[in-house]
């Protein structure tokens, strides 16, 4: 069927395709191309598709000539005869691109009026499918198709910002504004389906949704919309069977697909899923934790005096499996400190676990208001403690409690099987390393992509000009 092969169904050797509507084969036609003398310099000029092309450039003097009638009016002349434009796709060459055969019939150098940033455009022709542009910008190629659709332009939220975007009817994917300004035709060769004139300016706006770009070009009489699609250099090389390799570019480009972005888009939902899973697992295991107080002890001390050899009497940890033991000390430190050091000892085996607690709490009021630092609490978790009978030995010491020498009391609470967050934290950290790296790579690409944009979201609006 037509469309699958890229070639429309043609009558084979003039044989009608079906019995109906028999049309006599067309008479042998004169050669299509038309030759005439350049109105400007007299050199011979050939128009290859005279009925389709409206203007044509004299190869000799680069004058642009109106070829719609025998008057051959000069549309514009080109002052400097220059060879500075390197034409990568020769005029007249044909190639199969995006499934269709195209002939290169025109070449233009265009530039942004304000920045003098320039790029090249090759006009492609196929009598069945019309015209396309293949643009080349510093090693990056876009295949551009004109559209009759008028995209909707409106402000929309993209990420965390609001910006102008254009929308096609096919989807709600925003094409985000990238550049806007006047662009100009600097140089032309070949033939064109409109009356091309050097130095004519159009008001152009580019919107991107990589690998595609939506562009509008506006002059006094009309607005033309087109859809560009990033085309890898290798695809262009293969299409036109080029002997010389096309110039490479390793840099990022407005419409160049970012592998890092694709990776990031694939990774972040998985990442989110893993984090949610880990968190749910954590909540579940926390709920399953024994979390029983096995000993509570209250002791007395006098500030600024050492005390030694305190023993918390024997207590029993029932569970056979080993698990954690959390010991928490509470002392009424008030702009002072309280310290305990000792050990948790297994009564049966003599195994001991060193302990140290420091409850320092300071507070006050200064010119910034009230402040505080430290805490009257200090906790310590010991892991892998088997069941059995245990006791605790410790010494204590404290600072000056604002000359308060009254006896104070402190509490020690021993809890078996407290909910554990460390494993969750470590698992989440490792699960996040690759996603965070992917994000960094993605962001590096996107920052580079937007570096040439006047609407760069990665610079503050104040410095974008």
């Amino acid at each position: 069927m037509a469309g699958n092969t890229g070639d429309p169904e043609l009558p084979a050797n003039g044989q009608p395709q079906d019995g109906e509507s028999v049309v006599p084969p067309p008479p042998a036609r004169k050669p299509l191309a038309r030759n005439f003398e350049c109105t400007n310099c007299g050199a011979s000029v050939t128009v290859k598709y005279p009925g389709a092309s409206l203007s044509c450039v004299c190869e000799s003097c680069h004058a642009v000539i109106d070829v719609t009638n025998e008057g051959y009016k000069i549309l514009s002349t080109y002052a400097e005869k220059t060879e500075k434009y390197k034409i990568l796709l020769p005029l007249g060459s044909r190639g199969t691109l995006k499934g269709k055969k195209w002939e290169v019939i025109g070449f233009m150098c265009r530039s942004d009026v304000a920045s003098l940033y320039y790029w090249y455009e090759y006009l492609l022709f196929n009598p069945y499918y019309g015209y396309r542009f293949l643009t080349e910008d510093k090693g990056h190629w876009n295949f551009v198709t004109m559209t009759k659709e008028k995209p909707e332009v409106k402000n929309t939220a993209v990420g965390f910002r609001s910006c102008e975007a254009a929308f096609l009817e096919e989807s709600n994917q925003p094409f985000v504004i990238y550049n806007r300004g006047k662009s100009r035709v600097d140089f032309v060769l070949g033939e064109f389906y409109w009356r091309v004139r050097i130095n004519t300016e159009v008001f152009a706006t580019d919107y991107i949704n990589p690998p595609r770009m939506l562009s509008s070009e506006e002059d006094n009489s009309e607005v033309v919309w087109s859809i560009g699609e990033y085309t890898p250099r290798e695809e262009v090389e293969a299409a036109f069977n080029l002997q010389d390799k096309l110039p490479k570019s390793t840099r990022m480009y407005a419409t160049k697909p970012s592998l890092a972005l694709a990776d990031w888009k694939a990774i972040w939902p998985c990442w989110l899923l893993v984090l949610v899973f880990l968190f749910c697992a954590q909540i579940y295991f926390s709920g399953q934790a024994e979390n029983v107080v096995v000993s509570q002890f209250t002791g007395n001390f006098i500030p600024n005096q050492k005390f030694t050899d305190v023993t918390i009497p024997k207590f029993t940890i029932n569970s056979k499996k080993s698990g954690n033991v959390h010991i928490e000390v509470n002392a009424p430190s008030d702009n002072s400190w309280f310290w305990l050091g000792g050990e948790l000892v297994n009564n049966d085996t003599g195994d001991s676990y060193p302990l140290e607690f420091s409850c320092e709490y300071y507070h006050g009021v200064d010119s910034d208001g009230s402040w505080s630092e430290g805490s009257t609490q200090s906790g310590h978790t010991i892991y892998g403690v088997p069941g059995g009978d245990y006791y605790i030995n410790f010494d204590g010491e404290s600072g000056d409690f604002r000359n308060n020498t009254n006896q104070q009391s402190y509490n020690v609470t021993v809890t078996r099987g407290v909910p554990e967050w460390m494993n969750w934290f470590i698992a989440s950290f490792f699960a996040s390393m690759i996603p965070i790296w992917a994000w960094i790579l993605m962001r590096r690409d996107e920052v580079a992509r937007w570096a040439n944009s006047d609407f760069n979201p990665y610079v503050s609006s104040g410095s974008s000009d």
């Binding site: 429309p8 509507s21 067309p26 009925g51 196929n126 009309e222």
Partner: protein, 209 residues
């Protein structure tokens, strides 16, 4: 189908559509106006520079699941170029137009709803109420002149026939055209369709393509 003979050369001149009142003799290129069953010669059509169009009289295609055949063409010129208006007869007897320019193909059919604005009120951006089809917006308008015709047509498309052609766009890929000609004002409504989707048959053979 009505077959008459050319008053200039005697060759058969076919009228496949009852709506056709004009034809160009395929042998002697006489432009003929039909008065019921009489043909009056009003001129001779000069040859046309090959415009690389892939369509021709007899090309068939599909539009909205209806088969059509191209039975006539008028090529028009305006200040910035040319386009072809191909006159198409659908298999159910209706007629439509296939406008072809620079690889764009819009098929449209006569449309009778809504109030047609006067030609003097037309400007780019003006909205026009197309009845059940909603509001359309004027994209551009231009003075056009017929420079060539062939086959059969529903009006006398002698070389030099002038009209004002207004293009409008609606929702999706819908489009409309208003043609202000001396003898009448007509509205057409249709849409742009990709070349491949017409499933054309009997296309012109283009050398080298």
């Amino acid at each position: 189908m009505l077959t008459l003979s050319c008053p200039q050369c005697g060759a058969n001149v076919d009228f496949k559509s009852k709506a056709s009142v004009y034809a160009v003799c395929s042998y002697c290129k006489a432009s003929l106006v039909r008065h019921d069953v009489d043909l009056e010669k009003i001129g001779v059509m000069a040859d046309l520079q090959d415009d690389m169009t892939p369509l021709q009289l007899g090309t068939t295609g599909m539009y909205e699941k209806e088969r059509f055949e191209i039975i006539g063409r008028m090529r028009v010129a305006y200040s910035d170029g040319f386009w072809n208006e191909w006159y198409a007869l659908l298999s159910d007897g209706r007629v439509g137009w296939l406008a072809e320019a620079q690889g764009f193909y819009a098929f449209c059919m006569p449309f009778f709803e809504g109030k047609i604005p006067t030609v003097d009120s037309i400007r780019v951006g003006k909205t026009v109420d197309m009845g059940s089809k909603g509001i359309f917006e004027v994209d551009d308008f231009r003075m056009v002149k017929a420079i060539y015709s062939e086959g059969e047509l529903p009006f006398a498309a002698a070389k030099g026939r002038e009209s004002t052609s207004v293009d409008l766009t609606g929702f999706q890929n819908e489009m409309a055209t208003i043609e202000y000609a001396k003898e009448s004002t007509r509205v057409f409504l249709g849409k742009y369709v990709d070349f491949d989707d017409y499933q054309f048959k009997n296309l012109r053979h283009l050398d080298g393509w």
